[in-house]
Symmetry: C2
Subunit: 119 residues, 2 copies
DNA sequence: TCCTTGTTTCGACGTATGTCTATATTGACA
DNA sequence: TGTCAATATAGACATACGTCGAAACAAGGA
């Protein structure tokens, strides 16, 4: 991560197009595909998709890890998947005291949806 | 698959919701997640995403395998990925003479998009 | 300070996946 | 029928991935 000065905010390409252009607009470049595939891949696991849906549908738009249970895998595995979703830019996390809360990144998710809807 | 009589058409859940309910409506069940994740997973590979985008953006909404080149992998690998996209319900294929044409399944793709947009 | 609870990291293991080359299949056309 | 071009399948291989139990880390309370 570069030490960006707050005095010179730079709009990075990722910020403008968190996902990709509409998939039916033109063939994706290799780079675009690489970046977008990372996001789709994150939702491409049943457990992760359940976790994501669980957070997205939880009241307040966020869920504590402690709210999550009964997805059928061990707690370390839950943590591992949450990390993956975070790395993909779909979730953010924040520690508040003892608990860690996850919430969805609406703009990124919406961009993924747009890429498909237009397609 | 049950031998459904054409006289008694049954609307199967899959037909109604090719993908899944909006991800923020309620936590997905294990079955829903399993089915939906299969679709997202199909788009979770850079090469497959490029292939999909290539077909989706091609004129007439369809592309011959012969139109596909320069995705950086061998011809058998292209064929393998197209098969995966087909198995996921995102593409259909039809042989016309020597060539095989692939086209996107709009309803399925739109349903995936909706699941995200509402989310 | 020590304990307890919540969460993440580590290391290992089996399976799934993407890729290739070689081969088979399909259809058009001499 | 035989040959050629387009596509698919088979088999092999390396790597990625999901999972677990054990251990580490973080934060609050006795």
């Amino acid at each position: 991560m570069s030490n960006a000065s707050p005095l010179l905010p730079v709009l990075e390409p990722e910020a403008v197009a968190p996902c990709c252009p509409p998939l039916n607009e033109r063939p994706l470049t290799a780079d675009e595909a690489e970046r977008a595939a990372r996001m789709f891949k994150a939702l491409g696991d049943p457990v992760r998709l359940r976790l994501f849906s669980l957070v997205a549908s939880h009241e307040g738009g966020e869920a504590c890890v402690c709210d999550i249970s009964d997805v059928g895998v061990s707690q370390p595995t839950v943590s591992h998947h949450l990390k993956k979703l975070k790395e993909a830019g779909l979730l953010t996390s924040e520690r508040r005291g003892t608990w860690v809360y996850y919430r969805v990144e609406p703009s990124v998710v919406a961009a993924m949806g747009q890429a498909l809807i237009s397609g």
